[in-house]
C-alpha cells in the first residue's frame, strides 16, 4: 500500500512541472508583445517599455524566468489581475467556493442517482427499466449541456416560475461569507428564507452540471455490475441463502464500486469543463465564469493563473481518487 502511494506521488512531480511549463509558456505564445500583454497597456513609450521589461524580468534568460515564475507560483504569487488589480490567487480563492459548492452538489446528485440506476439496470437486464435507464444515459451525454441548461431555464423559470434564472441567492439577502458555501452560510446567518433561496438557486445548475457525470456513472455501474453478477462469489452468496438485497447491495456492489470509483474520479475534469458552461448560463460567480470573462477581457495574468491553479487542483483530486482506489481494492490494500 505504501509503495502504491509512493509511486503515485512520484509520478505527480513531472506532471506538475509540465503544467507549470505550459502555464508559463501561455503568455509567451499569445500574439503580440508579451510585455504589453502582461501590462495590459495598448501602446507604451520606449522608456515605459524598457521599464516594464525590467519589471517583468524579460531581460533575463528564459530558464531563469521560468524558475522565477515557478518560485513565485509555489509561494502563491501568480501576478495581479489586470482588471481588478487584486492578486490572481486571491481572486481565485474568493470565487472558488462557489464552484466547489456547485461541483460537490452536482457530483452527489450524479452518484446518488447514478449508482442505483445503473445497478437496477444491471439486475433487471433486458427489461424496460434497463432500456429506459440506458437510453436516458445515452441522451444525457449526447446533449450539449449549455442547451440543456437553457431548456431547463425556459421550463422551470420561464414557464413554471419555480426557480430563479441566475445567481446564487436572491439579492434581498446579504450576509458576510463564512465558509463561502452558500448553503451553509445561509443557515448560519439565521435569516428567514435565506436557505430556501440558496437552495432554489442551486437546483437547476446542479442538475445541469451533474447530467453528464450521472449518465457516465450509470453506464459504468451497469457495466461493472453485469460483470460482477456473473462471478462465482455472487453465486456463493446466493448459495448461503442471503436475501437478494444483501447479495446485490453488499456482495456485488462492493466489488462493482472498484472500477466505478475510477470513473467518478475521471469525472472531475468533466465537471470543470461543465462548470465553465454552467456558470456562464446561470451567471454563477465561480471560477468557470471567471476564466471565460478573463479571456474576453484579455486579463491574461488571470487566465494564466487560473489555468495553473485549476490544473493543479484536478491533479490533486485525481491523486486522492487514486489513493481511494488503492484503499477500497483489497488486493492493493493488503498486498502480500
Amino acid at each position: 500500500m505504501l509503495r502504491f502511494l509512493f509511486t503515485r506521488l512520484v509520478l505527480l512531480v513531472p506532471t506538475f512541472i509540465g503544467i507549470t511549463i505550459a502555464a508559463f509558456a501561455f503568455i509567451r505564445l499569445l500574439p503580440g508583445d508579451p510585455i504589453l500583454v502582461m501590462a495590459g497597456e495598448r501602446t507604451v513609450s520606449p522608456e515605459r517599455h524598457a521599464e516594464l521589461l525590467k519589471q517583468f524580468g524579460f531581460d533575463r534568460p528564459l530558464w531563469q524566468q521560468y524558475l522565477e515564475y515557478l518560485g513565485n507560483a509555489l509561494s502563491g504569487d501568480l501576478g495581479r489581475s489586470l482588471v481588478t488589480k487584486r492578486p490572481v490567487f486571491d481572486e481565485f480563492m474568493t470565487l472558488f467556493p462557489a464552484t466547489l459548492e456547485l461541483s460537490l452538489c452536482a457530483m452527489i446528485f450524479a452518484v446518488v442517482l447514478g449508482i442505483p440506476a445503473g445497478s437496477v439496470a444491471a439486475v433487471k437486464r433486458g427489461s424496460p427499466w434497463d432500456h429506459m435507464v440506458m437510453g436516458s444515459a445515452l441522451v444525457g451525454f449526447s446533449m450539449p449541456i449549455f442547451w440543456w441548461g437553457l431548456l431547463l431555464i425556459i421550463l422551470f423559470s420561464g414557464i413554471l416560475h419555480w426557480t430563479p434564472v441566475s445567481g446564487r441567492i436572491s439579492l434581498t439577502y446579504f450576509f458576510p461569507p463564512v465558509t463561502g458555501l452558500m448553503l451553509i452560510d445561509s443557515l448560519l446567518s439565521g435569516q428567514k428564507g435565506a436557505f430556501t433561496s440558496a437552495l432554489s438557486h442551486l437546483i437547476l445548475p446542479t442538475v445541469v452540471l451533474g447530467t453528464i457525470p450521472l449518465a457516465v456513472i450509470a453506464r459504468q455501474t451497469r457495466s461493472a455490475m453485469l460483470e460482477v453478477l456473473s462471478e462465482d462469489y455472487v453465486r456463493t452468496a446466493r448459495a448461503k441463502g442471503l436475501p437478494a438485497s444483501r447479495v446485490i447491495g453488499i456482495h456485488a456492489l462492493r466489488n462493482a464500486m472498484i472500477p466505478v470509483i475510477t470513473t467518478i474520479g475521471l469525472q472531475v475534469g468533466t465537471l470543470v469543463a461543465g462548470a465553465i458552461l454552467t456558470e456562464t448560463i446561470f451567471s454563477w460567480p465561480g471560477i468557470g465564469k471567471w476564466m471565460v470573462d478573463s479571456i474576453f477581457r484579455r486579463d491574461y495574468p488571470s487566465v494564466q493563473g487560473g489555468l495553473l491553479l485549476i490544473a493543479v487542483m484536478v491533479m490533486l483530486v485525481n491523486l486522492i481518487v487514486d489513493l481511494l482506489y488503492g484503499v477500497i481494492n483489497p488486493r492493493i490494500r493488503h498486498a502480500r
Binding site: G18, W147, S223, T280, I295
Partner: protein, 304 residues
C-alpha cells in the same frame, strides 16, 4: 477405435477474405437496433448537409426585416414562409439549421482525421522506439490530459484567436492523447506477439512492420475511438461557439446560433430549442453507432 473415426476431421467451410470479415461485422452490427437507427439518422443528416443548398428554402444569412422573431408554423404568429420560425434578425431558422449541418459534419471529419492521423503516427512511433523518447511523449500526453478539455481548448483558442479553424485545431490537439495512448498500447501488446517476431525474422523493415503488420490489428479500438471523437468534436465546437470562441457570427454553426439566441430564451423558445435539438440528434446518432461499432467489432467485449 477404428481408423475411420479419425477421419471425421472437421473441415472449416467458412469463407475467408476481407469481404467475409465485413459481412460478419455487419451481421453483428445489424442486430443492434439502436446502432442501425443511429446509422440511418446519421446518413440522413449527411444527405441533408450535402444537399443543403438545394433543400433549404433560403440562404443562411438572408435577412427578412418584416419577420423578426417569427414563431414556427404551428404556433400563433407563424407562417408557412418560415417553417421553424426566424431569429432576431429575421433569418430563416430551418435554412440556418440545414447549413449548420454542413459545418458540424465538416468539423467532425476534419478534427477526427487530423487527430487520428497525427495521434496514430505519434503512437506508432512512441511504441516502436521505446526508451526515453517514448517516456517523453507519454509525459507530454499526460500533461495535455491533466488539463480539463474545454479549459485547454478555450485557452488555446484565446492564444490563436477565435475562429472556427482555430477551434478545430484546439479540439484536435486535445484528442491527441487518446489516439496516442491507444495506438501505443496496441503496439506494445502486439510487439511481443509471435507473428511480429516472425515478420521481423523474415526481414520485414521497421516501416513496413509498423504499417502493414501491426497497425491493421489495432484498428478496432481506433475506429470506436474515432466515432466517439466525432461526437466529442461536434459538442466541443458547439461549446466553443456558444462561448463566442469558435465559429463567429453570422456563421450558421449550431453552437454559435445558441449563443446569439441566449438573450431571447424567454421570448422566443424556438431560437434556442431547435439548434440544440439538432446537436442532440446528430450526436446521439453517432454515439449509438459508436456503441454498435464497439459491440460488433469485438463481440467478446459485448457488454450488452
Amino acid at each position: 477405435m477404428t481408423a475411420e473415426t479419425i477421419h471425421h476431421a472437421v473441415i472449416d467451410h467458412r469463407r475467408g477474405g476481407r469481404l467475409a470479415l465485413f459481412l460478419e461485422f455487419w451481421s453483428y452490427f445489424r442486430e443492434n437496433r439502436g446502432a442501425v437507427a443511429g446509422l440511418v439518422v446519421f446518413a440522413i443528416t449527411c444527405l441533408l448537409a450535402i444537399f443543403a443548398n438545394v433543400i433549404a428554402p433560403y440562404g443562411p444569412t438572408e435577412q427578412f426585416r418584416d419577420a423578426l422573431l417569427q414563431a414556427p408554423v404551428w404556433q400563433e404568429g407563424g407562417s408557412t414562409r418560415f417553417l421553424l420560425g426566424t431569429d432576431a434578425v429575421g433569418r430563416d431558422l430551418l435554412s440556418r439549421l440545414l447549413h449548420g449541418a454542413r459545418y458540424s459534419l465538416f468539423i467532425g471529419c476534419i478534427v477526427v482525421s487530423l487527430s487520428l492521423v497525427v495521434g496514430v503516427l505519434v503512437g506508432l512511433f512512441a511504441g516502436f522506439i521505446g526508451g526515453t523518447v517514448d517516456t517523453l511523449i507519454m509525459r507530454l500526453m499526460d500533461i495535455i490530459l491533466a488539463f480539463p478539455s474545454l479549459l485547454l481548448a478555450l485557452t488555446l483558442v484565446a492564444v490563436l484567436g477565435p475562429s472556427l479553424t482555430n477551434a478545430m485545431i484546439a479540439i484536435a490537439l486535445i484528442q491527441q492523447p487518446h489516439y496516442v495512448r491507444l495506438t501505443r498500447g496496441s503496439v506494445l501488446t502486439e510487439k511481443t506477439k509471435d507473428y511480429v517476431t516472425a515478420a521481423r525474422v523474415a526481414g520485414v523493415g521497421p516501416l513496413r512492420l509498423m504499417f502493414r503488420t501491426i497497425l491493421p490489428n489495432c484498428m478496432a479500438p481506433l475506429i470506436v475511438q474515432g466515432a466517439l471523437s466525432f461526437s466529442d468534436a461536434i459538442l466541443g465546437a458547439a461549446a466553443l461557439g456558444f462561448l463566442g470562441m469558435g465559429a463567429q457570427p453570422p456563421t450558421p454553426e449550431w453552437g454559435t446560433m445558441l449563443a446569439e439566441a441566449r438573450e431571447f430564451i424567454l421570448r422566443a423558445w424556438w431560437v434556442v430549442t431547435f439548434p440544440g435539438l439538432a446537436i442532440l440528434i446528430t450526436v446521439l446518432a453517432i454515439n449509438l453507432m459508436g456503441d454498435g461499432l464497439r459491440d460488433a467489432l469485438d463481440p467478446r467485449l459485448k457488454r450488452s
